[in-house]
């Protein structure tokens, strides 16, 4: 199980379970024993981001419950006409599968990163970025379609006016996260490809040397983007 370095450099086993929580948090020491500061800070950032998306979904819920005008049916609003018949929600379903696939390739990239397989790691990260860019492209298509159909933050042809503001706010913020993720995926993939984590080359912004753990930290962010989509898909599109 997890071990920690004592001040004289020896390793000693840590207690598990509830005793482990008390022991890890107590007596003036670092709480996250076998997690680097980079990973811990990414987790704490993701926690704060959870609250942001949580508040968006909460305000959407409040608006939807409190309106006396019927809420537009997402199943019909997001239907696409393919081959002469309307298929409900099909674009959103495809977007979901694209994002899940990108999460899968990211998980594999992390795995190959720890095996020091630079080529496979970089290719899988670029594949992840490509799938993410595809997702954003489909979202742009969805926005264009809805805007041409007359959806605005202050109203739409089908029902409650809050539908537009909730939609643009939630999906827009999520799409921004995906876009930022794609940019950083490309940056980290370039570092991996060039072998920065093997040669100890310093980053252009932080002037610090990186480790293959950076790939996992990048992966945490990417999986979080997928995670948020799971909740948006359930509450906004399916509910």
């Amino acid at each position: 199980m997890a071990e920690t370095l004592t001040h004289i450099g020896q390793t000693e086993p840590r207690p598990a379970g509830w005793q482990g929580i008390a022991a890890d948090w107590s007596s003036d020491q670092r709480a996250f024993k076998n997690v680097s500061w980079g990973k811990a800070m990414m987790w704490i950032f993701l926690l704060s981001d959870t609250f942001i998306f949580g508040c968006f979904l909460l305000s959407y819920m409040t608006a939807r419950i409190s309106t006396r005008v019927p809420w537009p049916n997402p199943s019909e609003v997001f239907a696409l006409r393919i081959g002469g018949s309307d298929i409900p929600l099909i674009l959103i379903a495809i977007m979901t599968f694209v994002l899940i696939s990108s999460s899968g390739t990211m998980a594999m990239a992390v795995n190959f990163g720890y095996r020091r397989d630079r080529r496979k790691t970089a290719i899988l990260m670029l594949l992840t970025a490509a799938l993410g860019a595809t997702f954003v492209g489909m979202q742009a298509f969805e926005w264009t379609k809805l805007i041409t159909e007359g959806v605005r933050p202050w109203g739409n042809p089908w029902g409650a006016a809050q539908f537009g503001s909730s939609f643009f706010m939630i999906t827009g913020f999520h799409g921004t996260h995906v876009t930022i993720g794609v940019i950083f995926l490309i940056i980290v993939a370039r570092k991996v490809w060039r072998g920065d984590f093997d040669t100890g080359r310093r980053g252009f912004f932080t002037s610090r040397t990186g480790r293959y753990e950076n790939v996992e930290i990048m992966g945490l962010y990417w999986h979080f983007v997928d995670l948020v989509w799971v909740f948006i898909f359930a509450f906004f599109y399916l509910w």
């Binding site: 709480a31 680097s36 811990a40 419950i65 899968g104 945490l220 999986h223 995670l227 359930a234 399916l238």
Partner: protein, 134 residues
């Protein structure tokens, strides 16, 4: 099991070497399993596809009411759990980190409850003063 997720100290590479020796030295099953971690990711990936398909079918078949809502929530929680536990490696982290990250978002449910009451009251006043929708 904690070794699977690599603690950033090159532990994983060591484990990979050890795992290859496993059949000869007879190391316990948990460590041998680390030789095929890719398979674990592929299995989770497949499950995420299945669960997503299921939640899409809920809408495709037009299920209604409590059946629809409970199915949506079940599939959502299963998917979120798989992503956090396996893809984000939370299952192998120490509880101190897992509880610090996972408990606070659950407390948002208190906020949800408050806003449900608030929204119900807003709807009540709107209906009382403006009548039913246009």
């Amino acid at each position: 099991m904690a070794e699977v997720t690599a603690n950033g100290l090159g532990q994983h590479a060591l484990d990979a070497v050890r795992a290859h020796e496993a059949p000869a030295t007879g190391i316990a099953h948990a460590e041998v399993h680390q030789e095929h971690p890719i398979k674990l990711y592929l299995v989770v990936w497949a499950w995420l596809f299945i669960l997503s398909t299921c939640s899409y079918l809920v809408d495709y078949f037009g299920l209604h009411g409590y059946l629809r809502w409970s199915l949506i929530l079940i599939f959502m929680i299963l998917k979120a759990g798989l992503i956090v536990a396996v893809f984000m490696h939370m299952a192998w982290e120490r509880l101190a980190l897992a509880y610090a990250i996972i408990l606070p978002p659950i407390l948002v449910l208190v906020f949800v409850t408050m806003m449900v009451f608030e929204a119900d009251y807003t709807l009540f006043t709107r209906l009382a003063f403006f009548g039913a929708g246009p």
